[in-house]
């Protein structure tokens, strides 16, 4: 009888596992404490990361004010440092395109690259632009600041000269100010929502429908990994998606020697999130990793969480051989970029196929048509 019940159970499982496609709002098929995982995400990772980023954006704002009040090389260097700091902490924030960030399209307004320098020049000269327009996403954010403080000229004195120019200096100052104001405002809005109602909404939505927080954050995580870390930072410059390499399509192109640091920061943040590591500490909590451990997900005789961590580590090791400037790397030996891409790609399969299958989460984004 027990056996019969057993096989009945297997049949039921089979039925539910085979009939896929339209997942309704039914509860998760396991007893993992999804709510505890969401609490850990919100309280120990997302909100603290945003708070740190917000602090760095405030510092960027202040450095901008100092530079625009007195445009000189010393203040330019200080502004650059503030920009670098904020850009690095952004790498721990950009993947959370959920809630207010999703509504505002936060990531696209903060960090599209490459930027359109021609359009930025036109905006400055005409003083007519709408940074709220979707079409202006490649005319603002960190990439536009990169152009404004690193890309206008080679020598610092010549960059400063743009801002002190008797005719057009004020236009450069106001565009720079508008860029930073907008980043500041968007960040304030996103953080305020987490500090307000959204944290409870996020944590409370712990079911397993397509619109539940676990499903959404898992999709957001993988989308960011695939589109922004793998493709944006490495694959596109390395020419994986086209017939040629693009040495100018790297992050922080004008700074020149910063693209690897930004890549590493993002890679670290993504692996830390996977492991549920608290922001700014070595403590860990419930996470995708512990969820996989709970499900005891085995792939080809190995622990899936371990496979994923090993692959994160392998990607990091491979990337460690890259030049600080990905532009330089693409020019000198693009094969190392391609090797890094290949290692990153291996985890797409582990995350998007194996992990999501274990969690019974459906992929909610589509690959662009490409036409």
């Amino acid at each position: 009888m027990k056996k019969l019940l057993g096989s009945f159970f297997v049949l039921m499982l089979l039925a539910s596992a085979c009939s896929t496609s339209d997942d309704g709002g039914e509860a998760g098929g396991d007893s993992f404490d999804r709510a505890a995982m969401l609490v850990n995400f919100a309280d120990n990772i997302i909100i603290p990361s945003l708070q740190k980023f917000s602090t760095d954006i405030t510092a960027l704002d202040q450095a901008t004010t100092a530079f625009t009040a007195d445009a000189n090389e010393t203040n330019l260097l200080a502004l650059r440092t503030a920009w670098s700091n904020a850009y690095l902490s952004w790498q721990a924030v950009g993947m959370f395109e959920i809630g207010k960030a999703e509504e505002l399209s936060y990531r696209n307004f903060m960090n599209v690259f490459p930027v359109n320098a021609g359009n930025i020049d036109a905006n400055i000269t005409s003083e007519s632009y709408d940074l709220g327009a979707v079409a202006a996403q490649d005319e603002q954010g960190f990439g536009a600041l990169d152009y404004m403080i690193n890309g206008l000229a080679t020598a610092d004195a010549d960059i400063v000269a743009f801002y002190t120019d008797a005719t057009n200096g004020s236009k450069y100052i106001s565009y720079l100010t508008d860029l930073v104001d907008r980043m500041n405002n968007l960040t304030t809005e996103v953080l305020a929502d987490w500090n307000g109602d959204y944290r409870a909404t996020f944590v409370g939505n712990s079911g397993s429908s397509a619109t539940s927080s676990v499903d959404k954050i898992a999709n957001d995580f993988i989308f960011h990994y695939e589109k922004h870390l793998r493709a944006g930072k490495v694959g596109i410059p390395a020419g994986v998606f086209g017939t040629q390499t693009f040495d100018d399509k790297v992050e922080a192109f004008y700074k020149g020697d910063f693209s690897k640091a930004l890549f590493n920061a993002n890679l670290d943040a993504m692996q830390d999130f996977f492991n549920g590591k608290h922001f700014g500490s070595n403590a860990t909590g419930e996470s995708f990793k512990t969820y996989l451990d709970f499900l005891n997900t085995i792939k080809e005789g190995e622990d899936l969480a371990e496979i994923i961590n090993n692959q994160f580590n392998l990607s990091r090791t491979t990337a460690s051989g890259l030049d600080d400037s990905f532009t330089e790397q693409v020019r000198s030996n693009n094969n190392l970029m391609l090797n890094t891409y290949d290692e990153l790609q291996k985890n797409v399969v582990h995350l998007k196929v194996d992990m999501l299958q274990a969690f019974s989460v459906r992929v909610d984004f589509v690959d662009a048509d490409g036409d």
Binding site: S21, V134, D138, L295, I298
Partner: protein, 410 residues
């Protein structure tokens, strides 16, 4: 966990078992086996030929490029569309030398248009109007930012692609491209070459095939060739035309591409194989003079290729709807999706329901959808998610798929 693996295995074998039991689409045991690839020979020489289809697909590709070359004038693109032998319209000498033309085969099938030149001419004129609109309205505004009521360029989110739209937000190149899938590829394949009028009745085709009377100077019978011409509209530019599925979706911008796209949606995985198998088996049936089997394959092709059009129409409407419902609307992406959707909706009038021998949606019904889509003062700038949903549901209701299945690619 191990049980996951076990389930995968069971699921897979379940699919295999179900697949082998349910045979409603397949012809019951016929004693006829299709070859592994689309290779048919007589006296050691191939009998397969569809160079005219390959030519028209290539001409179509060049016309699509012309839509994005803002320095061209209307007469130049018109001439590409209605090519005459020897005219220097294309970049490829073979195309210039050809006596084939895209326009002459647009809305030109035996079954639908031989006694309906009224609609045929109206449809050709609609394609002419896409060209004219692009040249008169969009090209002069290539550098203008498009807003409601003003043609021009609009950029996708994330520093994405520039989309060039008319005053109503429609990308005319997409309307032309996706509309041509219906008006040329689908109409010619399903309503001309796979129909009994062409296969059996024209030029003594049936009797000649029975007696293996070959076309003058050729190695094929008329009927064999007609079937191949249908095949060519799906696979005419494939990397390997005898075995096209390994690159399905990558070989053109027309029917092949969207068979590939639908195949990529797990809800419809297997459709590329079904279509290819039906083409092979039908062709083998012609060689074996088993016209019952041939016609059964023709019915499968009509159903499945029509489904490709229906699925993509709903897919793009749903993508557009999702885009409109986002917190920050990326109008360029939405318009791109809806312009593709426009073309696939337009193509519905050329589909063929094998149960009724009529299109899944009549021209009048298609015009109704189009006016819902474009009917606001500023066309796509004004369309609502509710309208997109209602058109999606109306389309899916007449096919054997759901809005949810078509609306995702996962």
């Amino acid at each position: 966990m191990k049980i996951n693996h076990l389930l995968k295995v069971i699921c897979l074998s379940g699919v295999a078992i179900l697949g082998s039991c349910s045979s409603d689409d397949d012809t019951p045991d016929t004693g006829l086996t299709a070859p592994a690839t689309y290779v048919f020979e007589r006296n050691g020489e191939t009998t397969v030929s569809f160079s005219g289809q390959t030519t028209r697909i290539k001409m179509g590709e060049e016309i699509l490029n012309a839509f994005k070359t803002e320095t061209l004038d209307e007469a130049t693109i018109d001439a590409m569309f209605a090519h005459v032998e020897g005219a220097n319209d294309f970049s490829e000498a073979d195309l210039n030398a050809s006596d084939k033309s895209v326009r002459s085969k647009t809305a030109a099938s035996q079954d639908y248009f031989s006694d309906n030149v009224t609609d045929a001419n109206a449809i050709k004129a609609e394609f002419d109007a896409f060209i004219k609109g692009q040249v008169d309205e969009v090209f002069p505004n290539w550098g203008t930012t498009a807003v409601a009521g003003t043609p021009g360029v609009i950029q996708e989110a994330g520093g994405g692609s520039d989309r060039y739209v008319n005053a109503k937000g429609l990308e005319l190149n997409q309307a032309f491209n996706k509309g041509l899938i219906g008006a040329l590829m689908v109409d010619q394949a399903l309503n001309n070459y796979l129909g009994v009028t062409i296969l059996d009745q024209t030029n003594n085709s049936r009797a000649d095939n029975d007696n293996e009377v070959l076309v003058d100077g050729k190695n094929y019978t008329n009927m064999e060739h007609k079937w191949d011409e249908a095949y060519g509209y799906a696979y005419g530019t494939s990397a390997n035309t005898a075995n096209p599925n390994p690159t399905i979706g990558d070989d053109d911008s027309f029917l092949n591409k969207y068979i590939g796209r639908v195949e990529g949606d797990p809800d419809f995985a297997g459709i590329a194989e079904e279509i290819f198998n039906a083409f092979k088996l039908g062709r083998a049936a012609i060689v074996a003079k088993r016209y019952d089997i041939r016609d059964a394959q023709s019915a499968i092709l009509r159903r499945k290729i029509s489904e490709v059009v229906g699925i993509r129409a709903v897919y793009y409407l749903q993508q557009g709807k999702n885009g409109l419902e986002a917190g920050t609307v990326d109008f360029a992406s939405v318009f791109h999706d809806l312009s593709e959707g426009y073309g696939f909706i337009y193509s519905l009038q050329f589909t063929r329901n094998p149960d009724t021998n009529a299109p899944y949606f009549s021209r009048t019904e298609v015009q109704g959808f189009i006016s819902q889509l474009m009917g606001g003062t500023n066309g796509l700038w004004d369309v609502t998610p509710a309208t997109l949903q209602s058109i999606s549901e109306a389309i899916a209701a007449r096919f054997d798929f759901t809005v949810a299945q078509a609306g995702s690619t996962n």
